[in-house]
Amino acid sequence: MTAEEAVLATAEAIANGREAAPGQKQYVSFAAGSEQYAVDIMSVREIKGWTEVTSLPNQPEHVRGVLNLRGAVLPIIDLQCRLGGGLTETTQRHVIVIVAVMDRQVGLLVDAVSDILDVSDDKIQPVPETNSKEDARVFSGFLTDEDQMVAMLDLERLLGSEILDQSQSEDTPVQ
């Protein structure tokens, strides 16, 4: 799906109140790198095509910069890079999924939006125990859709550490 198609599909899904059967939820799935990810449709605020961002100094590599979205300044996170992959080589076809998390808005840079999924809770498999616990925490579960694994993102865990101020007293006058 291109950004425009994704926007239309998402808008349609919300407008029609395609309220799936009880116990089911809707997710927006998207591709980043070779993987598929999904987030709850209710947390998606907007989907837009990639535009140049303003980079921020001395930030982790996956923080691509900030963007002006109708007067608000949002950080853009490179999802592939955040999850341990390399930096995304951005083109016009890349997409920013703007999500709301913890009263803030954050843009996720992904390759493309894939689909809108109706999923019942019992279809989502818990994350198996692995060695690298830290990474596994950003997923809330896995869904096997046709023959593809879709990782469900836990946005608070994925972005919480990015957007909260941990450095309160960084500018003390004496070092």
Binding site: P60, N68, A72, R104, I163
Partner: protein
Amino acid sequence: MNELEQFKQTFFEECEELLQRFEEVAVTLVAGPNDAEVLDDIFRTVHSIKAGAGAFKFQRLATYCHEFENFMDLVRGGKLQLVEGDPDLVIQAGDILQDLVAAARAGMEAQAGIEDEILEILRNKTGAPQSNANAGADVNAAAPIGAGFTIKFRPHRAMYETANEPQLLLHALKSLGVMSISTSSEALPDLVKLDPLEGYLSWDIEIRGDDISRESVEEVFEFVDGDCDLEINEIECASERVAADLPEAPDAADEPMAGAATAASTDSKAIAAAAQSTSIRVELERIDRLVDMVGELVIAQAMALDSLSELVDIRHVKQLQALEDLTMRTRQLQEGVMAVRMQPLKALFSRFPRVVRDLSKKLDKNVRLELEGEATEVDKTIIEELSDPLTHMIRNCMDHGLETREERAETGKDEQGIVKISAEHRNGRILIRVADDGRGLSLKRVRQKAIDNGLIDEDAELSKEEIEALIFMPGFSTAAAISDVSGRGVGMDVVRRNIQKLGGRVTVESEEGKGSTFTLALPLTLAVLDGMLISVAGERFVVPLSTIVETVLPDPSSVRQLPDGGTVMSIRGETIRLIDVCAAMSIDRSGQPEPLRKLAVIVETEFGRRIGLIVDELLGQQQVVIKSLEANYRSISGVAGTAILGDGRVRLILDIDGLAAMDVPRTDGGQPSNTPTDTNRVASGGQSA
């Protein structure tokens, strides 16, 4: 009824203002003769609140005001002189008035009996000279004076149309004897149906006196006979009394601040009131929305201009002029809207005399408060947020800064200590200073304290300025004794944090034995900034114009590398540090041509220290709308905020003091921790500040 609620709201807002004024003047009261204006002010406050309280049927408040008013009336009329202790009594009475108003506002009953003690004292004081002084005022002292009349008086529209003024009639009536009066607003329709030309109010009057004849009463109303409903009845027995504590309506109309009844009053009064009122009340939220909208408009306007400028050339002079005009007007609109939010600091400063007065008693210190620059205007939000930090700083000055009486005597200082608060505009910022002429900071003690608390190393070499700054560090609690005055577990670090939240800074200057001066530097407004747009390696940044001193083209011979990697420049005999913005902002310069000669923008930090920012190019001045980075992300050192520019792109606003404190001054682009061999290229990953 919605209108009534609205009037009530207005009444309470007025109470707030009145009480504030009360506080302001009440502290100037002294035993003995007082300034007539001060007494008038206090009287008027109490009186106006009484009027409103009566109109809204806050009986307890009205009764209290009534007694208080009696007392003040006597004082004002010179029939009673304030003796030792009376000024405090008035202030206390004001406190209780405030409590009662607060309770009424919250729709609750104030704690039972809080006013009793004061009322008792006031009554005792007014009691003595009461006999001839309380003309018509005190109806509680069931005046057993002769016979009298009850009068019902309801003017018709025609009476107002013939320019008769009920107030004058009532005044004339009052001269006949002891009068009590109540306004009946029963006939008042809903505001939507109210005809401003119609007379709705009527008055129930009771007048007593030894030699009042029916004729003399009728005479008063002679000229309006037929234009009003008038009912005059003789009182048989002097025991009954109606509507005791309701306000005297005609007097209430005198006051521009009076209650609802007057607001919806008859035409002549409505017009008079309109002429008096030169301001309106608007919810802050509405103004904020307007400010936001205008901010967006400025951006949209700049964006439109930007995209059009490619199409428009010299052949389109007219269009260019139109655009120019639009730009100018947009800017004017923005300035106008921002000005709505500005308020004089007086509202804030007026609280302090009271703080100082109370505290000097508690601490047994003789302190004089000097205020300066009260008329300085600042954004309302900033004013609100300043109250706590400033109060704390005053406490701090009085508790820790000023010596005890004995100490002052020993050092040959005047027994009276001085706390001075001043405000002024400078360089697009507002400076507020809190100064005392006390003992000043003892560098030795501050240093020792910081070492004891593990804030600095024993052998740390610090300048005077740096030692003074230590008192703002968390964990540095000044006086050894935590007193209940300033040691409430809140230190100067909280003050500093509050001020920083507003985009301001606080510094201290002190001379041992002579006193200390705390300086707050704050932005005038939180929303817009005059900035200089600069470019570095293809990236653009905004430097706050207020910090820029000058721009120079450094001569290579005047620049020196330091062994630690830093760079300094000599300018007119002064040696200043240079900070390469490219390195500090970790910009990748590969693929970008290095300019032949870079510019140094000399900026001044809040500490007054100068540093030079190395940039490629100056792109010009622009007013920008500030958008916080923290709203959706987090703060970054060296960055004060973001701005959206004409092209719709976000640009970072450089934080000069932040840059000066940053540890990346190296012009070779390396970061001290992970010196890369590949110069001019800084790894952007791995470092989450």
